[in-house]
């Protein structure tokens, strides 16, 4: 008698009806399900909900965003980019730079908003810094999709494409996250 049998002396009538082999077959079928899922992602051409566009770069249809001077520091404005469902947010950072991001939170897809000096997802209190869209606090682990902006000589601002996703997320998140920042020793 094994040790766990002695520790838990319960005699279940059903336990003899589920063999190791049946369990292994169940695991193998789950494994096949994962393979099917990856194959589905491969064959599916349309990007997933909230995903970055697979071909970042210039868009065939630039979107006019008004005059660059219309937006003051700390202000933001919403706009649609690739289609009517592609909600994006244009903002002017405290440093005075214009930035635009897709409004979809990379955690569970809620709409982010510009609050203070960072972008906030109100659903689960996720926060993103505004310079490159990196997550700095809360559940999100991936940066927001950035939108490329262009200012024409007449002062008009245009959304012209999607920026490639930055990759140094962990290093940036570690230094920018208040939880990871070194704390000062009390004197």
């Amino acid at each position: 008698m094994t040790w766990w049998r002695r520790a838990f002396p319960l005699d279940l009538a059903e336990e003899s009806q589920f063999s190791r082999r049946e369990f292994a077959r169940f695991l193998a079928l789950v494994s096949a399900g994962f393979t099917t899922g990856i194959g589905f992602l491969w064959l599916r051409k349309k990007p997933l909900e909230g995903a970055a566009h697979p071909d970042p770069g210039p868009s065939g249809h630039p979107v006019a965003l008004g005059l660059a001077t219309d937006l003051g520091t700390g202000e933001s404005r919403l706009f649609k980019f690739r289609d009517a469902h592609d909600a994006c947010i244009l903002l002017r950072t405290p440093k005075g730079e214009l930035k635009a991001y897709r409004q979809t939170c990379t955690h569970l897809g809620c709409a982010v908003r510009f609050r203070g000096e960072r972008l906030e997802c109100p659903c689960h209190e996720g926060f993103f810094e505004v310079d490159r869209g990196f997550p700095i606090q809360g559940p999100p682990t991936r940066p927001l999709s950035g939108i490329a902006l262009e200012t024409h000589p007449d002062g008009s601002l245009w959304a012209v494409g999607e920026l490639p996703k930055p990759t140094d997320i962990h290093a940036r998140a570690a230094t920018a996250c208040p939880r990871e920042a070194p704390t000062e020793e009390p004197s």
């Binding site: 292994a24 695991l27 193998a28 789950v30 096949a32 994962f34 393979t35 990856i38 970042p56 991936r142």
Partner: protein, 76 residues
Amino acid sequence: MSLPPRPRQGLLSDAALGVVLLLLVIQLYLFETVLQSVLDGQRGLLPGAFAASLVLTAVALILAFKLPRIDDGPKH
């Protein structure tokens, strides 16, 4: 007079079951990685990931369905 012990039918060895479990863990990690990459717009690794996943699944299926019942008793 007691009956001879009944041979255990259809049992996998510990090693085989362990390998199937390990394959599933690798599959889970692979799927999570692939999903994150797709959400980031990087689809270039999908063919390779699919091939790797297919191999892992084939091994798991062979182990689960085709491996001889090594714990079976002698055939009469």
